[in-house]
Symmetry: C2
Subunit: 458 residues, 2 copies
């Protein structure tokens, strides 16, 4: 059997009962974390524009919930809108070694398909795990050379979504291979948008989730795809990577649960800035510094951080600010946390822009070698009075070695839900309870009630 | 101004009045030719599967016609289904130097948007020309190295569709740049499916047309994309080509009308087989041979022909047979033409399979150097009685130097429409009349009447 066949067979056949309890529990954590991120995308212009066109081009109601508007639609468009929404606030999860944001592509597709198909909570969890395990491995297969040009969450996300939805559709092994083929040949997403602060990021996740879902549904009806879309001579590896890692594709399936290596985002910024942010915070707290004490901060980073954050020298939008190492560190220095409210309220302030100029990045061989398996944070802080301090963090907050508790996740969810004006605190608490008891559901529920206002549309 | 800005400005501002009469007339020819190809895709399993899901996931009616079913839907899904349908029978047009099939991605998107927006026939023609001119230039920009792995019609087709729809939406220059950005970052399509005879080809055109349309509609509502999606450091050129041709992107806009270089397909096979087919036919007719006289046919071809046709050694489906040099030449030897009916009725026959084994391909430096600007056909035919004949065709039938007449196009359209059981001959004649008078239409019409049967769905 080829690596692709092994991976497809795993994705097609994974059952809830095979998944260790801690993996199930972490999946629930990640699902709740995703729900908060999706609500935080409400009122964001690019997300609302995608939603508008989803309802212009798609049906006005259906079996699947759209979290930001409480409307319903078909699974294709629910996956599209929820995926766009959950990748806006830069609060969704990240798997380190694959540089994939799995939640924002896996859950929108799996949740929409589970609602459309009337599957149980346990089936939804198993499908989501399949999506994570497949997506992470394909991300590792394509590797760093892929990520230099392509937004892995857009490209690989298409495969991850297909794997999750294919599991819910109960595809045969062969149908799952076909779903991978149709997903991989739709896989797209270029980093070029970043330096213009353009809206493509949400388009990438929207299309990854909906295209992956489509690939799986097509496969269920006999639509065929390439059998070797990853390793084939004209496949994803050949076209979209200069150095693949074929051994990663089907490695340790059912033994290594890669999902559990996924990090939660504590700061609301691009993840590449988190390690340095935590290292700076360590110095500030340890040395009892205030921002004005600081002359310079030299962050010691991996190459991908320079590739992704380097072009952002003068952030003009809040979204671009989340990709500015300087802004992230300025907010952390000022507030101890760079959350959604810190960004929205302060990213433009002159004191933040002033601190921004103190921050630089240099490539650090140790950090770069450890990446992407480990994201080490190292900074050197020079004070105005001539002192120099080193900060170092081996597990940034939110990483598996320093994860968020359920209480912290609930707090984050409520913060994000209220931030997006997407739900009341009472509603959010009921949603949280639904997530913690999802495995008891014989048919997946809706996470939010249809509001009276919005139901008139449907 | 960057090349991208120049190209976008051209696409946004092109008006019917600026287009030479012969270009308008050829656009009508290409549109009619596309219409026939779309009808020929009716009843094809992959096309019908895509249509099924378009109606499962999309609205049940709308302003846009779906040619194969006489149903209506939103522009997104009309573009999707009509694009899938028109790339099945291998009868749609091809532009040589860009190796792009423009009709199957430009017309479905432009026709759907024109119907949704109530635009005139002249506006539809101008938008279609914009789509052709842009798509062809982007295909030339990405070049042969792109085509080795990527199905240019899938990738570049997304841009071409966005250009056409953006013109109909009357985008500003800046909005058109954004549309290109959103289209380019969705661009996808890998050749890997070909050796498995998988169904991806129709998925590629379906998604190119609908994704490009989406990109343009999003841009009209302020959704932004990368400003330099073609030439940027993390753009299409960087990620999807190893040798780009930047001078091609914005070359001779409004002076060179690249649309008019587009070839019609005379045979119903992959275009890479056409030159050799015509050269073989020349030898057979000139020397009055029958298939049994022939011992071997050595075709002298360009590298891309070997890349695309080479993997197909034992065609198992009619679609795969269209990518078998041996089958195409066998049908031509037997019937003088490899049309849709010749393929369907005979590709499996033992005499065809027998002839197939006589055919080989060798790389020819002259042919390869001329490609893709010119597609030269050269064969050496060895007869069983020891004679050797050379055949050579510089302009295969359907090429601009040897184009199809309007009478030939009408005949092809009726053949394809009847082949797909998509319309009666009377209906087809009325459709043909609609196309020849399209520039008189103040609002584009429907090309086919809604049938009573199908209207019940709507």
């Amino acid at each position: 059997m080829s690596n692709t066949q092994i991976l497809a067979s795993f994705a097609a056949n994974l059952k809830f009962e095979q998944i260790p309890k801690d993996v199930v529990a972490r999946t629930e954590d990640l699902f709740l974390d995703w729900f908060g991120s999706a609500l935080a995308g409400r009122e964001a212009r690019p997300v609302e524009t995608i939603q508008k066109h989803a309802f212009d081009f798609g049906p006005q109601s259906g079996p699947c919930e759209v979290l930001i508007s409480r409307r319903t639609t078909s699974p294709l468009f629910a996956a599209m809108i929820n995926a766009a929404a959950s990748h806006f606030a830069e609060q969704d999860d990240l798997h380190n070694s694959s540089v994939l944001h799995p939640a924002t592509v896996v859950f929108p597709a799996a949740w929409a398909a589970a609602q459309a198909l009337g599957r149980s909570g346990k089936e939804f969890i198993a499908a989501s795990v399949a999506g994570y395990e497949v997506g992470i491995r394909v991300g590792e297969f394509l590797g760093r050379s892929h990520y230099k040009i392509f937004h892995t969450t857009g490209t690989v996300g298409t495969i991850a979504a297909a794997a999750a939805v294919g599991n819910l559709l109960r595809l045969s092994d062969e149908q799952m291979v076909n779903a991978f083929g149709s997903a991989g040949t739709q896989a797209a997403g270029l980093w070029e948008f970043l330096k213009d602060a353009a809206d493509s990021k949400q388009l990438h996740t929207a299309k990854a989730a909906s295209n992956g879902l489509l690939a799986a549904y097509l496969a269920a009806d006999g639509f065929t795809g390439a059998k070797d879309i990853f390793e084939g001579a004209k496949g994803m590896g050949a076209g979209m990577s200069t150095q693949t890692h074929p051994d990663k594709l089907a490695e340790a399936l059912g033994k290594r649960w890669a999902l559990i290596e996924t990090s939660f985002k504590y700061h609301a910024s691009c993840r590449h800035a988190h390690p340095a942010a935590d290292a700076l915070l360590q110095v500030i707290q340890r040395e009892k510094l205030v921002p004005d004490d600081i002359e310079t901060v030299v962050t010691h980073v991996h190459q991908a951080a320079i590739d992704v954050l380097g072009p952002v020298t003068d952030p003009r939008t809040v979204h671009q600010a989340k990709f500015s190492m300087g802004t992230v560190l300025a907010l952390v220095a000022e507030f101890g946390h760079a959350g959604v409210r810190e960004f929205d309220g302060h990213y433009k302030e002159s004191r933040i822009a002033h601190f921004c100029k103190k921050v630089s990045m240099v490539l650090d061989p140790e950090v770069d070698t450890a990446y992407p398996s480990r994201w080490i944070g190292k900074v050197i802080v020079q004070t105005k009075d001539g002192r120099s301090f080193e900060g170092r963090v081996d597990d940034p907050k939110g990483d598996p070695g320093n994860t968020l508790t359920r209480a912290e996740l609930e707090h984050k969810t409520i913060t994000l839900g209220l931030y997006g004006n997407a739900a009341t605190e009472d509603e959010l608490k009921r949603s949280i309870a639904s997530v913690w008891t999802i495995t008891d559901a014989t048919v997946v529920p809706k996470l939010l009630p249809e509001s009276e206002l919005e139901a008139q549309h449907g």
